[in-house]
């Protein structure tokens, strides 16, 4: 290898990963082109490492801070929880309970009382359907009769044509009922 023939990519990569041969190292020391390539990669990696470490340090710091904050908060909570234990007898506590119960009773009772004693009249029930007139009923009955007649005049079904009947079928006696009121 001399100054005219540069390091192959594989030889350069071996150098970068620390497995370069002595000949490659000697070439690198004397060849500006190859040493520039190696230096360019090292600078990129240095920049990458510095930046990504700063990024992960900032994430870690924020995590540690939030952890210590939550530790501080939990310590404060524990202190608050321990507070009533230190004051063995607090004369106001039963009064507080009584006041809280009264407020709850009022909150629940007032709407119930209002509902029972409300003076507002109930609205009339909504009619879902209006009753039909006698003429309308007669018209409907005519229509049903004509449908009945039309069904009776249809051709014989193939089963009956050959005197065959289904066992589970009985001759239908059902007819649409006339509406009567």
């Amino acid at each position: 290898m001399n100054r005219n023939t540069h390091l192959s990519e594989a030889a350069l990569h071996d150098l970068l990963i620390g497995l370069g041969s002595d000949a490659s190292l000697a070439h690198l020391a004397s060849c500006t082109e190859c040493s520039r390539k190696a230096e360019s990669f090292r600078e990129d990696m240095q920049l990458f490492n510095q930046t990504t470490l700063a990024w992960s340090e900032s994430r870690s710091e924020s995590r540690i801070e939030s952890r210590s904050e939550s530790r501080g908060a939990s310590r404060a909570v524990r202190r608050m929880q321990a507070e009533p234990a230190r004051t063995a007898w607090n004369p106001w506590t039963p009064l507080h309970w009584a006041a809280a119960a009264a407020v709850l009773l009022l909150a629940a009772g007032v709407p119930v009382w209002q509902r029972h004693h409300a003076a507002t009249p109930m609205p009339p029930p909504v009619l879902l359907a209006q009753e039909d007139s006698p003429s309308q009923i007669a018209q409907d009955n005519d229509l049903l009769r004509s449908v009945d007649a039309a069904l009776a005049n249809t051709d014989e079904p193939p089963l009956e044509q050959y005197n065959l009947t289904r066992k589970h079928e009985r001759p239908s006696t059902h007819r649409p009922e006339a509406r009567n009121r």
Partner: protein, 204 residues
Amino acid sequence: MATCPLVASALGSFPVEQVESSLNERTRPISELDNIDELVRVHRARILRLAAYSTGDPDMAETIAQETLLRAYNGRESFRGECSIRTWLTSIAIKVTRDHQRSRRFRFWRQVRNTAVDIHEVASFIPGDSASPERQLLARERITQLTAVLETLSFNQRTVFLMKFSEEMPVDEIAKTLGMSVNTVRTHLHRALQAIRSRMGEKR
């Protein structure tokens, strides 16, 4: 960095008997491993970075970093000091990452969510120094390109690459940690370098 022969045992689930027996014959000097807060303060960021870029999922990386440090702390008695704590922790982090990647839950959430590392967020941490706005812009572009190419690599290529060029581990140590031959590690590194250097080009 010295090679750690205990890496394999450290990667296990730390059987209780092993820890208890080693408690009786303690040879390990008291170190940062005995102080969980110190362990977190010194090593968390590095483990988080490795896990985040290895999995491509910063949220998952948080879990992996936490689990790694907890495992290390719980199994600290199995650490004999034959390699650096950093190497030992890296080995555990790789093991935990692999476990998470194999789990069905990980695969499911990977499909459901798309929480890749936010390149723009990372790029905002480029060291400012006294660089000109042009240099800052160029640096941002390089970081963005490198991160994008890393995402296209296979898990093994990416992990080996990060272990070599971010964690600065020697090739033989990477091979031992991952249970691969040196030649396999070398091949992964060559492929990763090929992809990264060809797609990024050289600095203008």
